[in-house]
């Protein structure tokens, strides 16, 4: 399924993601990683540590509704794989981000911005891995796209 190239809105959205990362560092002194925020919210820990992460999660969840109120349209979500594949993918992503200590936001934004060696390695590896996976699924195994 083809999607439109949207350089300007994507750059703007990216800038907002960067702004969120800078704001959380300025106020709470933390990196803005989706994996860390979710994990820190669900595993046992001090109330203080869990509370801000839960507040951040609620903020994330309210974003599509806010956009709907402002623009009248929901963010587009086109699922292009089967339900079993979503389940498998969820389990694999959960395992990978836990072992790798982060995902696209933690390593890919905050880590790169800090020029962290671990994050640079992680980003190169997960990008190459995702590229190879999509190539294999679409062009070798010939999954419908």
């Amino acid at each position: 399924m083809a999607t439109n190239f949207t350089p300007f809105i994507s750059l703007f959205g990216g800038a907002l993601i960067g702004l969120a990362a800078v704001l959380i560092m300025l106020t709470l002194g933390r990196v803005m990683g989706a994996t860390g925020i979710l994990t820190g919210a669900i595993v046992p820990g001090s109330f203080q540590e869990r509370a801000w992460r839960i507040a951040a999660l609620i903020g994330m969840l309210s974003a599509p509704g806010l956009l709907y109120l402002m623009t009248g349209t929901w963010p587009e979500i086109s699922i292009v794989v089967s339900t079993p594949m979503i389940i498998i993918s969820g389990l694999i992503v959960g395992a990978g981000v836990t072992l790798g200590s982060g995902c696209t936001s933690g390593h890919g934004v905050c880590g790169l911005a800090r020029l962290s060696r671990r994050s640079i390695v992680a980003v190169v590896l997960f990008m190459l891995s995702a590229l190879s996976t999509v190539f294999i699924m679409r062009h070798i195994l010939g999954e419908a796209s």
Binding site: R53, A55, V81, A95, M137
Partner: protein, 150 residues
Amino acid sequence: MRLAVAYLVGLIFGVGISLSGMSNPAKVLNFFDVAGSWDPSLGFVMGGAVLISFFGYRSVLSRSQPLFEPSFSLPTRTNVDMRLASGALIFGIGWGLAGFCPGGALPAVGTGNKSVLLFVLTMTAGIIITRQLDSHFSSKSHTPLGSIKR
């Protein structure tokens, strides 16, 4: 105040994710499909995010402390090990299979889309199972779990 700030930051992050297209699996998969229906948009998302945070961090981290905390809590580990490498490779496989990453999927739960919810639930299960296995095995051997601070 801390909670209000955290909520606002989550909201800004979620609006950025939603506008940018990161929560649309079709767009994410097309970013990686350079040999097919390639859509380079997500390169602009990463570019915008890293640019702002790179310069923003320079300015913020030159302060002696954050506004509402006594000190900055930055990841301290610097060693590149097998655990980091294998975790990143595994994450990439999962990301390439369905087109969801944690940061893209979490805000998208707010749309009420059932597939997104299913992804987030199974991803959460994956996180919990991996942590359990990890604490089980690492009680006998080496390093405890990653740099997620507890």
